[in-house]
């Protein structure tokens, strides 16, 4: 009996002196940290993916012309160079499942201006969520949960803990926004400033040559894209292909992409601008598939002309 008592008192001591206070301290500190992290870091950084997901879900700007797409949108289109009301929702590492998520949310909104700019990549219409930290802040939203699919984890609903291992990713975007050492940031866009030395760029070109690119189409995404286009005749969908280095075109199946562009152009409310073969010198590329700031200035000059010609104002 005495042994049993010392046994339970030892456990009680552990429970009340260590375990419960530990949960309380870490819990309280975590909640405070979580509050400031979300309010002061996530919501104050326009280039972070988490901000962009939250913005498309919770904010409506009737005059805004959104730009959706992958890193080629984020790193290639400078909103202010096109006009006052553009915002770049491009997300690094993502593909058309994410682009269509943004597009769906955008089409739910009542807007004064019909135009939506969609970046189209030469590797087609595929699935890539990339950094999960982009979606955690809004993981409670049914649309985000659907987008995450199997990637959704129950702990995404626990404040503080849900960012475990991902604080850094979001903080990196915040620093990019506020300090911007190597990038130019502008309304969601984050464009590389640096010019890659020719020797290094030649290495990148050599690596790229021989890696055959294919324009792949996920049938479900294609179906969804055309469903959105047809059910929203009031909106104008402007597809743009950003410049690629010519080395990417060796062995590339242009027929597939041309067929797809032809199909897109058959819709009245769709415009397609292909700048993939815009002749740019090597020093305007960050790598073979992304342009740097000088390249973006040049590309945006042509893009702006094209948009003006079709009456975007």
């Amino acid at each position: 009996m005495e042994k049993q008592n010392s046994y339970t008192s030892s456990f009680k001591e552990f429970l009340f002196k260590i375990l419960l206070p530990l949960f309380l301290i870490v819990g309280a500190a975590g909640l405070i940290f979580n509050y400031f992290f979300e309010k002061k870091i996530i919501l104050k950084s326009q280039v972070s993916g988490a901000y962009k997901v939250n913005r498309i879900l919770t904010e409506t700007y009737p005059d805004e012309i959104p730009i959706f797409g992958s890193s080629r949108a984020e790193m290639g289109i400078i909103p202010d160079s096109l006009g006052h009301d553009y915002f770049n929702y491009g997300l690094y590492g993502t593909h058309y499942d994410v682009t269509l998520f943004f597009l769906e949310q955008e089409c739910k909104k009542i807007k004064k201006r019909p135009w939506i700019i969609l970046n189209l990549d030469l590797d087609g219409i595929e699935i890539a969520l990339d950094d999960i930290s982009n979606y955690i802040y809004n993981a409670h939203d049914p649309a985000v949960r659907e987008l995450l699919g199997k990637e959704y984890k129950p702990y995404f609903s626990i404040p503080f803990i849900r960012y475990f291992g991902r604080f850094e990713n979001i903080y990196r975007s915040y620093l990019t926004d506020k300090v911007a050492v190597s990038k130019i940031v502008d309304k969601g866009a984050a464009i590389e400033k640096q010019v890659i030395p020719q020797k290094e760029f030649d290495k990148l070109v050599a690596e790229r040559i021989g890696t055959l690119q294919v324009f792949g189409i996920n049938p479900d995404l294609k179906k969804k894209l055309f469903y959105i286009i047809t059910t929203h005749p009031e909106r104008v969908f402007v597809f743009v292909i950003a410049p690629y280095h010519p080395c990417c075109f060796q062995g590339y199946n242009f027929d597939a992409v041309n067929d797809f562009m032809k199909l897109l152009r058959s819709y009245k409310n769709v415009k397609v601008f292909d700048f993939s073969r815009l002749p740019l010198p090597d020093n305007m590329f960050f790598n073979t598939t992304h342009i740097n700031y000088s390249g973006a200035v040049e590309y945006n000059h042509y893009l702006k002309d094209s948009l003006m010609q079709m009456g975007v104002h």
């Binding site: 042994k3 010392s6 046994y7 030892s10 456990f11 001591e13 552990f14 002196k17 260590i18 206070p21 530990l22 301290i25 870490v26 500190a29 975590g30 940290f33 503080f160 803990i161 475990f164 291992g165 991902r166 604080f167 850094e168 903080y171 990196r172 620093l175 050492v181 190597s182 640096q194 290094e200 290495k203």
Partner: protein
């Protein structure tokens, strides 16, 4: 199951709670079943290999104890060792030996027709094989009674905290603990929790952080210059220490929580002032295994000078091979053997030089210089340990010797960004700060330590359930 996984976060409290709720006589069974589950979480079928060695060594132990005839006893021991080493040879060394035979055959214009085996190395094979071997050797030597309870013997080999990456325990230290009644003890629980938290901090916050830069350097040697390669190889020294010692801390912590004492496997090795001291502080359970079962039987240092050096070299070459079936590991072991022998050969000259300069009077500086030299030597040897092959190791050394200290932010951060680079140095600072704590983590302010460590793990930890480096051995 990984210690740094969500599964373990559930497994550990459930098993521990059941352990203390169950009557003592059923606890061995719970621990054995939990250990099987823990091991089978990786790849279930490999438990059969473990079962094979357990059965062999269990009966070998009983036969050894019952047999009065010395020659027969020796035969039983040799048979048990052959069975254990045979398993290692097949799963770990067969392809290595075969590829070397192919290389030699090609030199003579012949063809090797032996097939290569497409088997994965069972996790922690070298660890539990060595632990099983230590049992039969100790029974043979008469230092340990043969264990008659099959379940307890199986638990000795399979005890889940140290099953896949040590510490490699001795039967004298472990078996009696499985018979002892462990009741819940506040001090054990707190100390165990401290060890687990510190181990997770070392693994998730430091090792996994540094691995980002290290992997980038080793995978892009063409891109790295002298400075980034130097940082990469130094980071690897810390990474492997935090990875492995972190595992050992978690193992000791989980065992301690239930009242079991596992041996200390690491004792701040980078504070060593000599290579001999380094090996007395690094992977202590393996160094002492080789000392007791190989070095001393070979004659240790109680033979002639050259035989002594030979013994050292044999031990370190085999230690290298124990780590992996690759020439890079052999060279890593040989380098450590060479360091020790060179140290012994030059002991008098170095002593005279130190006395001549009078540097030993400046104690702090003298210690710092010694520790730095040991860190540099050990770090150089780690290059071979980390490189996948000799060509890669050579490329690392080429990068280090080309003296390209040109400044380029992308090259310096290895394209992983300034934040990762800064955080890598920041966590090193945290590691240094943690050295101000008592080494056994028995302290007054346990709650504060646990709260701060947990907070740091959540904020700075890398999420990805990265495997421990030593699992591959």
């Amino acid at each position: 199951m990984l210690f740094n996984s969500l599964a373990f976060l559930i497994f550990f409290p459930v098993v521990t709670l059941l352990y203390f709720l169950l009557p003592h006589k059923f606890r061995w069974f719970l621990l054995l079943a939990a250990s099987c589950f823990f091991y089978m979480f990786f790849k279930p079928e490999y438990i059969l290999i473990l079962a094979f060695t357990i059965v062999i060594d269990y009966f070998a132990g009983i036969l050894l104890e019952n047999e009065p005839d010395k020659i027969r006893r020796k035969k039983y021991l040799v048979m048990s060792l052959i069975a254990n080493i045979g398993v290692l040879a097949v799963f770990k060394y067969y392809n290595f030996i075969n590829s070397n035979i192919t290389g030699i055959a090609l030199l003579f214009g012949c063809k090797n027709h032996l097939p290569f085996l497409n088997w994965l190395l069972p996790i922690g094979l070298s660890f539990h094989t060595f632990q099983a071997m230590s049992y039969t050797i100790e029974v043979y030597r008469g230092n340990q009674k043969a264990e008659r309870h099959f379940g307890i013997y199986a638990l000795y080999v399979m005890f889940y905290p140290q099953l896949v990456a040590g510490p490699i325990e001795r039967p004298q230290n472990m078996i009696h603990q499985f018979y002892a009644k462990h009741k819940f003890d506040y001090n054990n629980a707190v100390n165990g929790l401290n060890l687990i938290a510190y181990g997770l901090f070392k693994k998730i916050v430091i090792a996994d952080r540094l691995s980002v830069y290290v992997n980038q350097v080793y995978n892009n040697l063409d891109y790295a210059n002298t400075l980034s390669t130097l940082i990469g190889v130094c980071f690897f020294s810390i990474q492997i220490y935090c990875d492995f010692s972190g595992y050992s801390d978690i193992a000791r912590g989980t065992a301690k929580f239930m009242g079991y004492d596992l041996m200390v496997n690491f004792n701040r090795p980078y504070l060593s002032k000599t290579i001999a001291e380094f090996w007395a502080r690094w992977h202590i359970s393996l160094s002492t295994w080789f000392r007791d079962y190989l070095y001393i039987p070979l004659g240790g240092n109680r033979t002639g000078k050259w035989k002594w050096y030979r013994n050292l070299l044999i031990v370190f070459l085999l230690s290298g091979l124990w780590h992996g079936a690759n020439w890079t590991f052999v060279i890593w072991g040989a380098l450590h053997g060479f360091y020790l022998i060179f140290g012994l050969l030059t002991k008098n000259i170095r002593g005279s030089f130190i006395r001549f300069t009078g540097i030993e009077k400046l104690k702090g500086l003298y210690t710092f210089i010694n520790q730095s030299v040991i860190f540099i030597l050990v770090t150089f040897a780690w290059i071979f340990f980390r490189a996948e092959n000799l060509h890669k190791a050579k490329a690392v050394i080429n990068n280090l010797t080309q003296c390209d200290f040109s400044y380029n932010l992308n090259q310096l951060t290895m394209q992983k960004g300034p934040l990762n680079f800064i955080l890598s140095f920041f966590v090193l600072g945290l590691l240094w700060l943690s050295y101000l704590l008592p080494a056994n983590l028995k302290m007054k302010h346990n709650l504060l330590f646990l709260a701060i460590t947990t907070f740091i793990i959540i904020i700075l930890g890398k999420n990805g359930e990265a495997e421990f480096i030593y699992f591959q051995f």
